[in-house]
Symmetry: C2
Subunit: 479 residues, 2 copies
């Protein structure tokens, strides 16, 4: 150890300083590095491997629901971005602009895509002619740029990786069904793959996407009670189609505008994984996206046969799991801390005594539970344990979300809850933007998260203005 | 058919106008669409699916050789690009520059990455400290931008998709071995997956990459005898490391500069697939990257049982192959032409008579051969045939390359061959740039492709200047 500079350094306590705890983890678990361009991050191998696992899983879900991947240019001419009024107003202030190409000043500025509705519409205008060309169910994996003033790795960066679905449909019903279907795909993915529960519902007028008729959202709650907009799906109606002259000849032989949707999730999900599951010792990764599912740590490695046996176990497990055998000359204790910091779901310890007894020790990252397992039964036991860990992580997160979800029936109660107990507040709302703005102002940032699909009737009047209530809304601060 | 506007239009003959034939195919096989930004293309689902298959295969090869994926920012500050003199000279003239972010003029211009050596170096400077941190074997999948004046889909576009490997090593030997290993990975991939043979070797000083000590290249020949630079690997020595201050503490406890490589292939490979394999009826796709490997065309679809049986066959084949059942109301003849145009390796015809005989007809795209196959034996037969098609495609391409590879022992012979018979010319070379420039000038664009690893000795003197020859060189025009 003397010549090894690497040490597993302690990280800030989660309860002491959540923001610093987060930053410590992303750096020390080697998920990202900062780059020389403000707000842009380097995603390191361990962080990128999480993204690859996310991509593979989501991409399968998109293809199973009939979507095809495409790639659009990364540049949008300014005139194209301006074709849809609300959209350009929403995005122009945060665009990065290319003004010089080669050594020449461009005659028209090009914006680096902040999102690609306009590019998809330009293409759809050329390839959609009749109802036979519909639906078009396209998705794109790419990076996008939004010039942010305050940035934080994964949560808010000037460049981020994401997927953006863009679809065109004959009817409003079909397009709305798509919007809701993709929200369900996200919800299933969060639950089944990331072990993250969430509230889902519709955004208010104030919070919806620039140019959309309706925006739906999935809102997981972080450990500290702060919400994260975890993914959105948008129904656009025919607004973009009208602006871009996209028409199709219908079954009635008349020309119609198709109905459009878009939907996206991003590398921000990695931020959610960290903040929902992590603890004071570092990351706790959901087994289904963990780059390493089982870290094998040989004990008394110098003893005859230990390393050979560890290699044999690793080779056998590799067929089924993502496995890392650490045969470096770091101490077992260092390795334990390292893989805890990196959130590896299972640690497998194997020493001379274990080998003698034809067994090994499995240690769960989430509970630290130690389990002695026969080597004859290892694959089955690991398969089972990874599922058990997933479920336990989901349930812990769900308990946290439940414990930090409050109700407010009066405005005083709302303000007190907002001030004293971070989390979601369920409260009735009249439907007007003024109340949303007043609440945000007077609570230092509590915004409407969404109108859930299943509303409760907590009272008949708006918690803010006292006028008749239209909806129950989840409120909360956000990243 | 009356109300269906879609028709399989004829394409330009390959021998008549190769360039127009190429453009017809990329448009009519629905691989790409042009976009509103000059030189940027929309990669449509069928084209993108080829890229996804290429990516999956290459990514596996990269990981098997120990590489990890990362993601670097898409922007490079001008000062960072300028740190390596040769590099900036090579790339600055073709950069796209972001000068405005949000609504503010940036204090420093940002270039949209044309390649990411500088970003990797900036990161490596922070994470490489001792020999224990080496090697670093990183790869990135992303899009890059090079402002091109004349563009052609896949072959030369202002934005393209690619992978770029960037590695750091303790010693020159290790780095050079990596450079050659990755060239072999490319060569294997071209042969085993794309069914494309190629010449491989080292670039001359004149043709090597900006900032590299040595550049290696894989050069497949298109059907018309023109070469395509199909992929390159570079050995950088310690030049970048010195410019970026990357050092490591060696086994001797002293500070050293690590040795660096980079290597990349791009969506240009799709251009190679088209131009190596295609014919007058459209694409011929190598089975291992074809988005659809078997297109099922039911015959007399209205007859009872035909569609059910076709669906049953499709469902069963889907477990093993990429299959499309076309149950649209287009005529079988239209479908035949369509899947020929799209280069689907095998067409499966199934009609009432076939069903009666428990058989179907398989038609090879590459030879048009019809094969009657029992439905009991279908999977095995398709598996075999896809391999047979792959091998046949490779051999045809190899025959073409051999037939269009010439030797020149005198300059007259060289000029005549260059003028009259497009292809590779093997000829001796003295090693000086002046002769390369003279040849390029006097032949209207014939350049050195590479110095092959296995040189022949055609004579002792340079074909151009008559001075003593240092190497045998493959010469040819390129895309």
């Amino acid at each position: 150890m003397a010549d090894n500079k690497k040490m597993v350094e302690a990280i800030t306590s989660r309860d002491e300083d959540f923001a610093k705890w987060y930053t410590d983890i992303v750096k020390k678990a080697e998920l990202v590095d900062y780059s020389g361009v403000k707000g842009c991050m380097v995603i390191r191998p361990y962080g990128y491997a999480i993204w690859e696992n996310i991509q593979r899983d989501l991409d399968r879900r998109f293809k199973e629901t009939g979507h095809e991947n495409v790639y659009m240019p990364m540049f949008i001419p300014e005139s194209l971005l301006q074709k849809e009024k609300d959209h350009v107003e929403g995005f122009a202030p945060e665009c990065a602009w290319v003004t010089v190409g080669g050594s020449e000043k461009l005659t028209e500025r090009l914006c680096v895509r902040p999102t690609s509705e306009t590019l998809f519409c330009e293409h759809y205008a050329k390839i959609i002619n009749t109802y036979r060309d519909l639906p078009k169910l396209y998705n794109q994996w790419c990076s996008v740029v939004r010039w942010e003033k305050t940035t934080r790795p994964f949560l808010r960066t000037s460049e981020f990786l994401w997927q953006e679905g863009h679809t065109m449909h004959e009817t409003q019903e079909e397009a709305e069904a798509e919007t809701l279907q993709m929200l369900r795909v996200y919800e299933d993915f969060y639950r089944e793959t990331l072990a993250i529960p969430a509230v889902v519902g519709r955004k208010t007028e104030k919070e919806k996407f620039a140019g959309a008729e309706a925006t739906y959202t999935i809102e997981p709650m972080m450990h500290n009670g702060v919400a994260l907009q975890g993914g959105t799906t948008h129904y656009f109606g025919t607004g973009f189609a009208e602006s871009f002259g996209i028409t199709y000849q219908g079954r009635d032989n008349k020309l119609h505008f198709p109905h459009q949707t878009s939907w996206g999730v991003s590398t921000r999900m990695i931020g959610a994984i960290i903040m929902v599951h992590g603890d004071d010792d570092g990351l706790i990764l959901p087994p289904r996206v963990a780059p390493v599912q089982v870290a094998i740590v040989p004990i008394a490695m110098h003893k005859a046969g230990v390393l050979d046996k560890a290699q044999e176990v690793a080779d056998s497990l590799k067929k089924q799991f993502r496995v890392k055998l650490d045969a470096s000359d770091n101490s077992p204790g260092w390795k334990f801390s390292q893989y805890e910091m990196q959130g590896v779901p299972l640690r497998l310890e194997l020493g001379p005594k274990d080998i003698e007894n034809n067994q090994c020790v499995l240690v769960r990252r989430d509970t630290r539970e130690k389990i002695f397992v026969s080597l004859d039964n290892l694959e089955a036991e690991i398969t089972k344990l990874l599922d058990v860990i997933h479920d336990a992580m989901y349930n812990r997160a769900l308990e946290n979300m439940k414990a930090k979800t409050f109700e407010a029936r009066t405005y005083d109660e709302f303000l007190t809850t907002a001030k004293e107990t971070p989390g979601f507040i369920k409260a009735m709302w009249c439907g007007c933007t003024e109340c949303e703005e007043k609440i945000k102002e007077e609570t230092g940032g509590v915004k409407s998260r969404c109108i859930p699909f299943e509303e409760e009737n907590l009272s008949d009047v708006c918690v803010c203005c006292g006028k008749p209530a239209k909806h129950m809304v989840y409120w909360g601060k956000q990243y």
